[in-house]
Symmetry: C2
Subunit: 160 residues, 2 copies
Amino acid sequence: MDHVDRILAQWQRERPDLDISAMGLLGRFTRLRNHIGREIEKTFAERGLTSASFDVLAALRRSGPPFQLSPGDLLATTMVSSGTMTNRIDQLEKQGLVQRLDNPDDRRGVIIALTPEGLERVDEAATAHVTNQHRVVASLAPDEREALDALLRKLLATFE
Amino acid sequence: MDHVDRILAQWQRERPDLDISAMGLLGRFTRLRNHIGREIEKTFAERGLTSASFDVLAALRRSGPPFQLSPGDLLATTMVSSGTMTNRIDQLEKQGLVQRLDNPDDRRGVIIALTPEGLERVDEAATAHVTNQHRVVASLAPDEREALDALLRKLLATFE
DNA sequence: CGACGATATCTTGACGTCAAGATAATATCG
DNA sequence: CGATATTATCTTGACGTCAAGATATCGTCG
C-alpha cells in the first residue's frame, strides 16, 4: 500500500465508473521520474551543471573529436525545441564551456564546439553521473533491472 | 537498436572506462517520460487544463464531498513546492474552478474548494484521462503492464 | 499570561521550457 | 537566372517551477 495505492482507492470510491487499471503504473512512473530527476540534478548541481546543460555537453563529448556539432544535430538528440536549444547554448557559452564557431559550409548555420574547460567538466561530470545512476537503481537486482529495461524499451518503441 | 542504444555505443567508444550498464535503463526512462508527458498534456489541453492544474483538481475531486482541502493537504499529494502550489491555486481561481475560503479553525490557513464548474470540468477530464492512459500503454500486454508496475513500485519504494 | 519557536501560506526573483514567428541563407525548378 | 519553397537558427512572450525568505497566526511552556 503505497502513496499511489491510496490515490487509486480514493478514485475507486468516488468514481467507480472509471477503469483505473492503467493509472497505477503511470502514477508510479511520474512520481519515480520526479524522485530520480531530483537525485540526478543534485549530482550535476555539485559541479555547476544541470541535466539540461549536461545533455548538450554530453552530446558533444560522445560525438568524439573534435567535439563539434551543429545546433540542429544537438536538437536531434535532446528532445527540446529550437528555442530551448538556443537558450542552452547561450548559457553554456556564458560559462565558457562551449563556443559558437562559423560554419564554413553554410552561412545560416553555426558549429557548437566544446572548449577545453567544457571537455574537462563534462568528463568529470559523466564519471560522477554514471556512479550516481547505479546508486539510483541499486534497489533492483540485476535481473530486475534487465527486465525493467526491456519493458521500457518496448514501450518506448511505440513513440520513436 | 533504438536511439538510446546509439547513445550508449557512442559512450562506449569514447569513454570505455565508464560502466554504463545503468545508463540505458535511465535514458529510456527519461525519453519515455517526455513522450508520455506530452501525450497526457494534449488531452488536458483540449479541455483548457494542464497536468499541473488537473493534479490539483483531481486531488480535490477524489477526496470526496465537499471537495475541499487545505493548500497543505494538496502539497502533501502533489510533490511540488509551496510557491508552486500557491501559483497553481491562483491560476485555478482565475479560471473559476476553485475558490479560496476562510478556514474557520485557523486564521493562518485557507480552504480550497472545487466550484460547481470545477467539479464538472475535472469529472469530464478524468474520464478522458483514464481512456488516454490506456491508449498510452496499449502496446504492452496485460501481464507486461503488471510486471512493469511491480518493478516501478519496488523502485519507487526506495524513495518514499 | 507572555514570549518564542513552529506552522500555513504567500511573495520574490531567477530559470528552463515551449509555440509561434522572424531572419537570413540555401536549394530547387521552370 | 530568378522566383519560391525550404532550412537553420534565433527572438519573443507566456508559463510553470523552485529556493529562500516574508508574514501572520498558533501552540506551548515557563
